[in-house]
């Protein structure tokens, strides 16, 4: 079997998207769901085949994994050197992402058949899901940064379309616009980064720019690192700009504001796009260019580490005070992606040094499983209770047994309790941070505790806590929804045992890594402390949370309002940018640019109005002018002649 089969992984959802968009309305809605799910299942099988073929047959050569360009088609021949092609790059991280994306997408497709049943626009929903799967898989496989950028924007579009799926709801429309504008703004940085990188290297292909920019003797590296700009080399600036794009897509502080609002979309979408796959695209991007960060731009990597660490702490604190269960999960996603960024940021290059890189990818993998599970379980809860708010839930464990158990598995996984998946990946991240930077390590320890606390708070409030009087008895979700939950719970419980360092490493050479119990045991203790505090506060109905909130009223309000970041954005954009930049620009545009054009237009119009009568189209008038002219000339000549 040939690895070029990997291009079919994105192409199948693409064809399904085209088909459903053009002809979907001719079939029953259920057909769209089944078709999308079957198509994704085929993609999933192909991904598994590719993964098997890559990791166990073709990939390993002389003890190192190869980056194989499995398929390549030239698209734009711009110059002799600058050629844009489309294709698929198969290497450990892209294969891993194929597995993640197709698994979660398949589960979400299956789940959506039950969750979206009877909704208006069922076919449209599945068409958009297919579009998203296509875009994300194309992004993952991109062998050059330009293809990555195209698919990067495509996932942005599909995210926009799916957040705004309920387009009759003003809040959904606002959220979709917010998400699109914020990520577009960040993508500007990504584009600038791409332009700088391709300018210094003259190439767009990863297999050319990475060797060029990591080899200290290459002219591109010399040019990039010698030229300084505000104290940092152009190369460092370029990777920071690229990271800005990644930070926008991965909702890192301060570009995180769109993600909590994106929860307006249907819950399966939140699970697929805003938890498991699209939001980790930023992590994937940094991982893809990781050698450049690690070897040539360590300052850029520091930025990644600190942004990641800050976001993980910041989002974890906010998550403790929210009541909308999807928003809690959104902030927890922010926090976990912060972990992944931090892991990349503290990683070195090669062998044991590159543990952070492996840990980041490992955490990406396990996080995708347990976070998708959390969201899908939250969807099942919302489906049963018809509310997003925690204070309208309680004691649901009797009504939703399957959801309860799978949710508990996911909570244990995210809290880092062995043997669930999150424990292993989080342990590797903490080890990597410990070796690199003690301060960041301490921050992440704290975050691990807070994570355990807020996730348990969510779990206890929803499934234990006070007895609620529901309008109608909540009932367990249908089979199509519980099967994905059980599958993902299985994944969240077991994927931790994969020896990730034997597959994914910063320099593509497999190595052995072990659990560091001296770091793992305190982190388990911290998590247990977090869980116990949450259990004490929320397992039975108590007044402790209210009393704590009262005694820290100022801080609580600050956190509850998400540190007023949205308000700051509104202030900066509406009060400062609109008034002092946009308005003068608009005035200039209307009066100077438009004015000069209008002047030319008006003058022409006025002149033509004046001379319009000469062109009446009436032969008699022309004849009159002609005869008068002849007569005048005749008189003139006769006059001269007679003189």
């Amino acid at each position: 079997m040939n690895l070029s089969i990997s291009i079919w992984v994105p192409l199948i959802p693409f064809f399904i998207f085209i088909f459903l968009s053009l002809a979907g309305h001719k079939f029953k809605p259920l057909f769209a769901g089944v078709l999308g799910t079957v198509g994704l299942f085929v993609s999933f099988i192909i991904s598994l085949l590719v993964a098997y073929q890559y990791f166990f047959a073709e990939g390993l050569l002389n003890g190192a994994y190869q980056q194989i360009i499995a398929y390549k088609a030239t698209w734009l021949n711009l110059t002799d050197r600058l050629v844009v092609s489309m294709g698929s790059l198969v290497d450990p991280i892209s294969v891993m992402m194929l597995i993640v994306v197709t698994t979660v997408s398949l589960m979400v497709h299956l789940y959506s058949i039950g969750y979206m049943k009877g909704e208006v626009g069922f076919t449209r929903f599945f068409a958009f899901l297919s579009l998203f799967s296509f875009s994300m898989l194309g992004l993952v496989l991109a062998p050059n940064i330009f293809q990555m950028y195209i698919f990067w924007e495509l996932v942005g579009v599909s995210s926009y379309l799916l957040i705004g799926f309920y387009y009759t709801k003003p809040s959904a429309v606002a959220a979709s616009k917010k998400a699109f504008i914020v990520t577009r703004f960040a993508d500007l940085g990504f584009l600038v980064g791409i332009l700088i990188i391709s300018f210094i290297t003259g190439s767009l292909d990863f297999d050319q720019i990475i060797p060029m920019l990591t080899d200290p003797n290459s002219p591109a590296f010399q040019e990039g690192s010698k030229t300084l700009f505000f104290g940092m080399s152009v190369l460092t600036w370029s990777v920071i700009f690229v990271f800005m794009g990644g930070a926008g897509k991965s909702a890192m502080f301060p570009l995180h504001i769109w993600l909590p609002d994106a929860m307006e979309g249907p819950t399966p979408v939140s699970a697929l796009i805003h938890a498991a796959t699209m939001v980790v695209a930023g992590v994937y991007l940094v991982a893809r260019l990781f050698p450049i960060y690690a070897l040539s731009a360590p300052t850029g990597l520091e930025v990644v580490a600190y942004v990641g660490a800050f976001t993980s702490l910041f989002a974890a604190i906010i998550a403790c005070t929210q009541f909308d269960i999807k928003r809690i999960l959104a902030f927890s996603t922010l926090s976990q992606i912060g972990y992944m960024m931090l892991a990349l940021g503290v990683s070195g290059y090669g062998g044991e040094q590159g543990l952070g890189f492996t840990a980041s990818m490992f955490h990406l993998f396990t996080h995708a499983m347990f976070k998708a599970l959390l969201f899908l379980a939250a969807g099942a809860i919302i489906h049963a209770v018809h509310s997003n708010y925690m204070y309208e839930m309680g004691n649901l464990r009797k009504f939703l047994p399957i959801t309860h158990i799978t949710f508990a598995v996911a909570v244990l996984a995210i809290a880092g309790i062995p043997p669930f998946a999150g424990f292993f990946s989080k342990d590797e991240i903490l080890v990597a941070a410990y070796h690199h930077n003690k301060f960041l390590f301490a921050v992440e320890y704290l975050v691990a505790g807070i994570t355990a606390f807020y996730m348990s708070r969510l779990y206890f409030s929803v499934f234990w806590g006070k007895h609620q009087h529901y309008h109608h008895t909540p009932h367990e979700a249908p089979k199509t929804m519980t099967i994905p939950l059980m599958f993902l719970a299985l994944a969240a419980a077991t994927t931790g045992f994969i020896h990730f360092s034997e597959f994914v490493s910063s320099d593509l050479i497999p190595y052995e890594s072990h659990i560091h119990w001296n770091i793992a045991i305190p982190s388990i203790l911290v998590a247990l402390v977090g869980i116990s505090i949450a259990a004490a506060m929320y397992m039975k109905e108590t007044t402790i949370p209210d009393r704590i909130a009262k005694s820290f009223r100022g801080f609580y309000t600050l956190v509850y309002n998400k540190f007023y970041i949205d308000e700051i954005y509104i202030f900066v954009t509406k009060k400062i940018i609109f008034n002092y930049i946009s308005r003068p620009v608009a005035w200039f545009d209307r009066h100077i640019v438009d004015g000069s054009m209008n002047l030319i237009g008006n003058t022409t119009a006025r002149v033509s109005h004046l001379i319009r009568d000469f062109q009446s189209g009436q032969i008699q008038k022309y004849g009159f002018v002609f005869v008068s002219g002849v007569l005048i000339l005749a008189f003139v000549f006769i006059y001269w002649w007679l003189k």
Binding site: G617, Q618, I619, Q620, G623, F624, V627
Partner: protein, 105 residues
């Protein structure tokens, strides 16, 4: 029969006819009148041809032939023009050139 009449007399008549034609062509708005004015101009030219031929080159016939051609062509032209005018009248109920300004259809 025309001996004794000086050439200038003929030329004066033809000039007057020509400018009457020009005036009518420029001023009148009725298609038929315009057509008649054109005939006047053509015929004044015919007079000039015949007169110059007779007085200046009596042994030649080109002027006469030109006159015959012009008469024939004028007849054909009148036939076509009148056909057009009739069609215009049928469509617009009007043969005023200023009001018949719609070229479409």
């Amino acid at each position: 029969m025309i001996e004794g009449i000086p050439i200038v007399h003929f030329l004066v008549v033809s000039t007057i006819m020509f400018f009457v034609g020009v005036y009518g062509f420029l001023v009148r708005r009725n298609l038929i009148t315009i057509l008649m004015s054109i005939e006047l101009m053509l015929n004044s030219v015919n007079i000039n041809f015949v007169v110059f031929n007779k007085y200046l080159f009596p042994e030649q016939l080109q002027g006469h032939f030109f006159t015959l051609f012009i008469v024939a062509v004028a007849a054909a032209e009148a036939a076509v023009a009148i056909a057009i005018i009739i069609n215009v009248y049928r469509r617009f109920n009007n043969i005023n050139v200023e009001e018949v300004s719609n070229m479409k259809h």
